[in-house]
Amino acid sequence: MGKTSWYRLALAGAIVIVLFTTWLTARALHTLIDAQFWQAHTLEVISQTESLVAQVHTAEAAARGYILTGSPIFEQQYAAATGNIQHTIANVQRLTGDNVSQQTRIVALRTRVGSKLAVLEAGIVVREGHPSGMIDPSLLGAVVRDTPDRMDSVQNTIHDIEAEEHRLLADRIHDTALAHREVWSTFTFAFALDFLLLIAAFDLLVRAERTRQRIAAGAAEISTLNRELTTLNAELETRVAQRTSELAVSNQELEAFSYSVSHDLRAPLRTIDGFSLALQEDCAANLNDEGRDYIARVRNGVQRMGMLIDSLLQLSRVTRSEVQREQVDLTQLSTLVFNEIQAADPSHEVAWKARPGVVAQADARLLRIAFENLIGNAWKFTEHTPNATIEFGSSRRDGQNVYFIRDNGAGFDMQYVDRLFTAFQRLHGDRDFKGSGIGLATVSRIVRRHHGAIWAEGETGRGATFFFTLDTCAAI
């Protein structure tokens, strides 16, 4: 579920809860108001009923006063009281319109009040017949006799009505109290719920604000980092451009130097060798054996110097030239190199073994130089070995192709293995094996330029194996 739709659902839930609690509170309030209304209503009925008792007493007192004195004041009082009585009864009847038992009682009351008033009326009529003086008590017999009974029955009826209303009042007070408590509890409940909602909303707001701040801080940090990165990049590019141009200059110098070495250093050597030979050939008659030996040694020195210069040039060329990878048949290339070496020195017999079909992505020119040096070395160090064998092979080690050149020649002591690949380090004296001490350094550099590794295993008198890898993956 997406974040937005979750928020919408939460908002809808909150609205429903608020509406529900509002409705609950309104309902409780309504019940309370209703209960209070009925309580007041009952009190009104009671008050009206009570005033009725007083009015009946007033009517009786006025009637008696009139009968006794014949004063028109009492007659007027009586008329007003009866009017009030009728009015009050009508009121009570109207007010208790919903209560059948009260209505029955009121009908009875009306009859009893009527009969009471009828007795009083009879007395009043007697008085009207005798405008002044005492009245014969016998004439008033009905009034005198009747009075207490009828009054009691009226009072009893009113009392019944009142009792009923008091019972109702008690009920209604109880109802009101209940409604009151319900209002409070509902209000508390609604308030608590709304309060919780408010807290939840506030919490969400705080969290959203914190997230916003964190995002803003993150964005600021990212933009700062970006700026730094851009600056660093620009610096780096400048530096790379600078280094590249420096490197180009130094490469150019190196090239000029190599060219000069290749040309100028060899020229005097050729002169020395040429004239030594001329001396040997043209002035042979003037030279004894010693002289001829010296000349041979001079020429030998010149050859070695020439070889050194060539090896150095090769080493520098290997460093300078760019590695151009292509599919190279290593079996074919190593065999070709072996055949060339053999053709140049047919007196030395060596068996050649090459694993067929070994192919790699590499610089063919550089690999040819590597093979020339490795097979050349193997050739050199098997010179005094009977049944000499040189082998080219490959194997897989740690998911990488490992190639090797193996011979069964002079070998070397493993304790000097570290010095093998350093320029001008030689493990064999010139007396045994001639060499420049640069060949393996050149091979090592070629392998390194292919992002590969080179190492050797050997044993004195039992031969040597040179392993190397060519990181073919990096090239593609």
Binding site: S258, Y259, S262, H263, D264, R266, A267, L269, R270, T271, D273, G274, F275, S276, L277, A278, R299, V302, Q303, M305, G306
Partner: protein, 138 residues
């Protein structure tokens, strides 16, 4: 006649000795720098100098580079088909490529070992002066 362009007098002497040893009997004219070689080529064009059968040209020369001399030889109609062999100490790839681009007939690196050089010279003389059929003079 062979035109040898060589600035080093020692090498000049050794080259002439090697040619003689190889039984090359032809006359050998020597130009000691690039300018002298260019003069000679101009002389051929003007008809003042004889056309050589072969030019042996060193690359590293004072005043004018050997490659410039080669360019001049190939540029002139009269000498454009003249056999030119570069004889030099350099085995730099760019020199070899430039020489062949400019139409050299052969590129030989002078070995330090003079025996090898003598053998190369012998074969050179045999090939260019005896076996090879030169283009007709223009």
């Amino acid at each position: 006649m062979i035109l040898l362009v060589e600035d080093d007098p020692d090498h000049e002497a050794l080259a002439i000795r090697a040619l003689r040893k190889a039984n090359v009997a032809n006359e050998i004219r020597v130009a000691h720098d690039g300018a002298e070689a260019l003069d000679y080529v101009n002389g051929i064009v003007k008809g003042e100098q004889r056309m050589p059968q072969l030019v042996l040209l060193d690359l590293k020369l004072p005043k004018v580079e050997g490659l410039e001399v080669l360019r001049a030889i190939r540029a002139a109609d009269k000498t454009s088909l003249l056999p030119v062999v570069i004889l030099t100490s350099s085995d730099e790839e760019r020199d070899i490529v430039s020489s062949y681009r400019l139409g050299v007939n052969s590129y030989i690196r002078k070995p330090v070992n003079f025996n090898d050089f003598a053998e190369a010279t012998r074969q050179l003389g045999m090939y260019w002066l005896l076996l090879n059929q030169c283009p007709p003079p223009q």
